[in-house]
């Protein structure tokens, strides 16, 4: 039975992807920190991970036609939510720059954690292949 590379790397690869996606959303919030009527957004990371876990467990729908939509990716996209503002602003913008920046930094650190795990998996596989 061949080893599936996706299975061997476990949850860490989707976790890293989710971190990158969240970094993108937070960077967009910060770029729009001065845009009138812009509403800050964020990703529900827990829900995204749950989805990834279900995909790993084989609950995702199979694609038998090239025009079928990827149900896993769709569900992950729909976890993009709006943030509840702490205080109202005159121009209708709900970005709190300091909070967004701290979230971005924290996300970057958690990205490093995911990366370390993934790197450990890859190193382990390499060791197993070379047989040392």
């Amino acid at each position: 039975m061949p080893i599936s590379l996706d299975g061997a790397l476990g949850i860490h690869q989707p976790a890293l992807e989710a971190r990158i996606k969240r970094a993108e959303v937070l960077a967009n919030n910060l770029a729009n920190a001065d845009t009138p009527n812009y509403k800050a957004r964020d990703i529900d990371f827990g829900a995204m991970m749950q989805q990834a876990q279900q995909n790993l467990d084989g609950l995702a729908m199979e694609k038998t036609h090239d025009r079928h939509l990827d149900t896993g990716a769709m569900a992950a996209d729909s976890e993009l939510l709006y943030r509840v503002p702490h205080q109202p602003s005159v121009d209708g913008n709900t970005v709190d720059a300091q909070q967004e920046q701290s979230r971005f930094m924290r996300n970057a650190m958690e990205y490093q954690v995911s990366f370390q795990f993934l790197n450990g998996k890859v190193t382990g596989l390499k060791k197993a292949i070379s047989g040392q």
Binding site: E24, N32, D34
Partner: protein, 149 residues
């Protein structure tokens, strides 16, 4: 690769903020530019920002993105520059070379204090975008070391 998108997003933020800084510089430089008629007097200029939605950049995914409005967005753009319609300052200076027949000159409606605050805000926002770009760079550099000893 979506890490590349962060460079575009932070880059668009930096472009927008530097344009805002440009208008501020222009307003402050022209704060004392007098003229003899209302039409020719300099008016304070302000950029108008708007968020870029993914559907604008990605025409082939437009139907999808419009259907559920779930795109994370891809940065900020400057929609245009508007001139302030606040009242101009009219000063009685009969010995000014640009004075009209009644002895008045018109000064721009630039509020220098407001412009200074705007300048601080935009330079901070610019720095923030630079920080984001640096973080994205180090994240990308890390992923390049995947599997190395």
């Amino acid at each position: 690769m979506s890490l590349g998108n962060i460079f575009d997003i932070a880059g668009s933020g930096m472009t927008a903020q530097s344009l805002r800084l440009n208008t501020t510089a222009s307003n402050i430089a022209n704060a004392e530019t007098a003229s003899s008629s209302i039409d020719q007097t300099y008016r304070a200029r302000k950029p108008v920002f708007a968020a870029i939605q993914q559907s604008m950049l990605n025409p082939q995914q437009q139907g999808m993105a419009l259907a559920n409005d779930q795109g994370p967005g891809t940065g900020v753009r400057v929609e245009g520059i508007v001139e302030s319609d606040a009242e101009l300052q009219m000063r009685f200076q009969p010995d000014h070379p640009a004075a009209n027949e009644d002895g008045y000159v018109f000064y721009p409606n630039v509020n220098v204090v407001e412009e200074m605050a705007d300048m601080m805000s935009s330079s901070r926002s610019f720095q923030m975008n630079v920080d984001i770009m640096n973080s994205a760079k180090s994240m990308m550099q890390r992923i390049l070391t995947l599997g190395q000893q």
